[in-house]
């Protein structure tokens, strides 16, 4: 299947890209993140980070499917 990934803030700087569409064997958002770390070694662990799937805040064990847009949010600091 193919999914689109978007990186934000520190993740974007580490990945060196803002967004990419890639083939994936991952079943969860966490597995997808691991695949992305294989592509971009500078990506840190997703500890304390958040993930959204198709514009909904989700969990790292949430299921992903073909065509999903997955957003990787590094640790936030609003306010």
């Amino acid at each position: 299947m193919n999914v689109t990934v978007r990186y934000f803030a520190a993740f974007r700087e580490a990945a060196g890209v803002e967004s990419e569409t890639l083939p994936s064997k991952a079943t969860t958002a966490g597995e997808l993140f691991s695949e992305c770390r294989d592509r971009h070694a500078a990506l840190q662990d997703y500890h304390a980070s958040m993930v959204a799937i198709n514009e909904e805040m989700s969990q790292w064990d949430s299921t992903i499917k073909d065509g999903d847009e997955v957003l990787f949010f590094p640790p936030v600091a609003g306010g």
């Binding site: 934000f8 514009e55 600091a77």
Partner: protein, 151 residues
């Protein structure tokens, strides 16, 4: 209703406050987050906020609804800045109007705590040293934990 706003412009505080006015309310509590000149021993020159607006607004509205529900306050609103900011600029403003002050203080506190830990917003500090860094909110992480323990 869109009481949670993100803007790249200077926040108009007089207008913000005017929209909070409610003749059934005796108490109004406002929190302003200002860009301060230091953080963990480093001299800060300016700040940059990156905001993923679609989800920040959606989740922000959810936080405000929770505050109204939990504390029974009448009006809640937030404006959060995005982009580059100078020292003393207002990065975020939270307003809560309520018949009585207990609830207004509690709800305002709840909202800013949640805003700091739940929204897709990132802060990059530019230091006098020339260095720049994405910042994690240490205190916020702590609050999140404490709240988790209480809930």
């Amino acid at each position: 209703m869109n009481d949670f706003k993100v803007t790249a412009e200077t926040i108009d505080l007089a207008l913000f406050r005017a929209t909070m006015q409610d003749v059934s309310c005796g108490a109004y509590v406002q929190f302003d987050g200002w860009v301060r000149d230091h953080n963990e021993g480093q001299k800060v020159l300016r700040l940059e906020y990156e905001v993923y607006e679609p989800l920040a607004v959606k989740e922000g509205e959810r936080i405000l609804a929770e505050a109204r529900e939990r504390f029974g306050v009448s009006r809640t609103a937030v404006i959060h800045r995005s982009g580059l900011m100078e020292l003393s600029d207002t990065a975020v403003v939270v307003g809560v109007a309520s018949p009585h002050r207990d609830e207004a203080f509690e709800a305002c506190r709840y909202i800013i705590d949640q805003v700091k830990v739940r929204l897709p917003i990132w802060k990059k500090e530019h230091y006098a040293s020339g260095h720049a860094e994405w910042v994690n909110c240490q205190r916020c992480a702590q609050h999140k934990q404490e709240r988790g323990a209480r809930d």
